[in-house]
């Protein structure tokens, strides 16, 4: 699994260091763990489906029908690339007063959440994520539409981010 260092992955990584000098946001990309996990899940599931799609018609109707397995395999190749692109598009930046999250390839979205507006910071980690040593940080504001989640962080980084955001949120806290 090819993975660059998280700092210079994606279009912003290289730009980030340049911008930092000028006082722009320092973008942080996601660590490669999430990419690894998603690709592994993709390979495992589509591999199983491909096996089933190849074996069942192949044994029942003749070896030529095993060609059905090509479909899931093609899907796997496409998904492999897509997951890579999506992973590269995720990045976040902690600025003095707000958190920036940027994501998406075709449908791009960039979210700005001022620290003072945070109501709750949540660190979540499911069983699979825990196995890969990953955790996600979710920010809640009073607006339910605020969808500020950073997936696939290392647990230590997730906790550091949570503590820092909570601290900054308290310092800049504002009502509704």
């Amino acid at each position: 699994m090819e993975t660059g260092s998280p700092r210079d992955a994606g279009p912003a990584g290289t730009q980030g260091t340049a911008e930092a000098v000028e006082g722009g946001p320092v973008w942080i990309a996601l660590p490669p763990g999430l990419l690894r996990m998603r690709r592994l899940l993709l390979v495992v599931w589509l591999g199983l489906i491909a096996l089933a799609a190849g074996l069942v018609p192949g044994l029942l109707a003749g070896p030529a029908w095993a060609a059905f397995a090509v479909l899931p395999l093609a899907l796997m190749a496409w998904g492999w690339v897509m997951i890579g692109r999506n992973w590269r598009s995720w990045r976040y930046a902690e600025r003095a007063d707000d958190l920036l999250i940027s994501r998406g390839v075709l449908w791009r979205e960039e979210t700005v959440v001022p620290y003072g507006r945070m109501q709750l910071v949540e660190v979540a980690s499911g069983p699979v994520e825990r196995y890969f040593g990953l955790a996600s940080v979710q920010l809640h504001t009073a607006a339910a539409a605020t969808d500020a989640t950073i997936p696939g962080l290392a647990p230590a980084e997730a906790e550091r981010l949570r503590d820092r955001l909570t601290e900054l949120g308290e310092a800049r806290s504002a009502g509704l």
Binding site: D97, D98, L106, W107, R108, E109, E110, T111, V112, V113, P114, G116, R117, T141, A142, A143, A144, A145, T146, A148, R172, A174, G175, L176
Partner: protein, 493 residues
């Protein structure tokens, strides 16, 4: 049931409430005020529980006002429920209902009534007897339930709106419902019913305490004087409803769909099942709206905005200052020639959404200026349209989009036939987002979304990409600084 009921009737009024206070043991604990720990709370709970029957007379502590009960007609509010259940079952299964009805003899009927009526009466009495509320320096506490106890503490400085509503039957009985809108409260946290005058007094007291008046003076402050800003004449309201598309659409659907369905299926039940909801919708959007929005009065007081309306069910809403998250000025196509607009508002945690059902534009603008202090509604000239290349993303309708940012509000217009201008004060912006789909990127445009605490998102669609990026940064900055000069939650403090 009659004697304790009559005794409890006095309990609803304030004077008698102190006389038969059940807080003899609890008073000492609650006197410590809101700082009381959870353990102390539980102690109070059990102490009150223990002394309810003893009923020793002792004035309650001042910090936690006397515990009061709701109005004694309250149990009757659910009296219709069993009738509705039986009726619903009869409609659902008419044949079965007929069969059961024919088997019913006088004796079974009498026995049934002898069991059901006292049981229902006991339930109603218990639910009333075990519901208490008290106003403390910082909270409204509602304690309810006999088996499953539930205590709600509602923080007064977080009040987003207070509504006193009087459904038709409640008006006849002289009682009213009081509802506090705080984020996270649910339907159970309304006080239904209180005596109409009690409800008004309680509202004034809650508002005075929320505003930051000292607890001792809070119930002497009384109702703040109101200055009327606008009253919608019934004639204008009727014409405005006749000129709105929704009314005619619902009416047309109710008139066209059932005959078509009859021709297609020839089944009476299908037609009825479709026609009744359609007729209901048509009625609700025309007559229903007229009745609900009749005599719409908007007034201004130091406690905030007062909205009174209703022909049969009267509602009196109060929105304290600085609680309005979004104001929308809607201009339907047929109203444009007359220069009328409708003004809607969003308050966090509140279901009320109409500020002015119909008014000439200048009047509406003046009301908006009172609701959002320091805001002038930007005219069409002050809004910058989307760039022309946006027509490839949203054909024709792209002309409707416009954006104006002043130093107080973010104003986004949308719609071509039914124009709608949404105003969000910068201090109310929770987060800002910029989104861009593939089509938009090809044309170099992007959308900027602003999320508010009322769970509404205002979108400025199809802005130039570079402009959107600047807007994103600037809007986040304004959202942060806007809050600094916003009013405090306790507006009189």
């Amino acid at each position: 049931m009659t004697t304790p009921g009559a005794g409890g009737a006095g309990g609803a009024t304030e004077g008698a409430g102190t006389a038969e206070s059940e807080e003899s043991a609890g008073a000492g604990e609650t006197a410590e005020g809101p700082g009381a720990t959870g353990a102390a709370e539980i102690a109070v709970e059990s102490a009150v529980e223990a002394t309810t029957t003893a009923g020793t007379a002792e004035t309650a502590a001042e910090a936690a006002g006397p515990e009061r009960r709701l109005h004694p007609v309250t149990p009757l509010r659910r009296a219709w429920a069993p009738v509705a259940v039986v009726f619903g079952w009869a409609v659902h299964d008419p044949d079965g209902a007929q069969r059961h009805l024919s088997r019913l003899t006088t004796t079974t009927l009498l026995i049934g009534l002898a069991v059901i009526v006292p049981a229902a009466a006991l339930y109603g009495f218990c639910s009333w007897w075990f519901t208490h509320f008290a106003v403390t320096g910082t909270e409204l506490r509602i304690r309810t339930g006999l088996v499953f106890r539930r205590t709600a503490h509602i923080r007064l400085e977080r009040i987003q709106a207070i509504d006193v509503t009087q459904p038709l039957l409640a008006r006849v009985a002289g009682v009213a419902k009081l509802r506090l809108d705080v984020i996270g409260t649910d339907k159970k946290d309304e006080l239904a019913f209180l005596g109409a005058d009690d409800a008004r007094a309680l509202r004034a007291e809650l508002l005075a305490r929320a505003a930051g008046f000292a607890p001792g003076t809070a119930h002497e402050v009384g109702e703040a004087p109101a200055r009327r800003l606008l009253r919608v004449p019934p004639g204008v309201l009727a014409v405005s409803l006749l000129l709105s598309g929704g009314t005619w659409g619902a009416l047309a659907a109710a008139l066209v769909v059932p005959p078509v369905l009859w021709l297609a299926t020839e089944s009476v039940w299908t037609v009825l099942a479709v026609a009744l909801p359609l007729l209901g919708a048509a009625g609700a959007s025309s007559v229903g709206r007229f009745v609900a929005e009749y005599d719409w009065t908007v007034a201004e007081s130091p406690d905030g905005l007062r909205i009174d309306h209703g022909l049969l069910d009267r509602a009196h809403e109060t929105v304290p200052p600085g609680r309005v998250q979004t104001v929308r000025i809607v201009e339907p196509l047929l109203w444009r020639r007359r220069g009328w607009v409708r003004v809607e508002l969003d308050v966090a945690g509140s279901s009320n959404s109409v500020l002015v059902p119909v008014a000439p534009r200048e009047v509406a603008d003046a009301v908006v200026a009172r609701v959002l202090p320091g805001v002038t509604v930007p005219g069409p000239a002050a809004l910058s349209p989307s760039p022309r290349r946006a027509r490839w993303c949203v054909p024709v309708w792209w002309r409707g989009y416009g954006l104006g940012v002043t130093d107080a509000v973010f104003a986004a217009r949308s719609g071509l036939l039914r124009r709608s201008l949404a105003l969000v004060p910068h201090a109310k912006v929770q987060s800002v987002r910029m989104t861009q789909g593939p089509w938009e990127r090809a044309r170099g445009v992007a959308d900027v979304c602003v999320d508010t605490g009322a769970n509404k998102t205002v979108r400025a669609r199809l802005r130039d990409a570079a402009e959107a990026r600047e807007l994103l940064a600037a809007q986040a900055e304004r959202s942060r600084t806007g809050r600094r000069d916003a009013r405090p939650d306790r507006w009189m403090a």
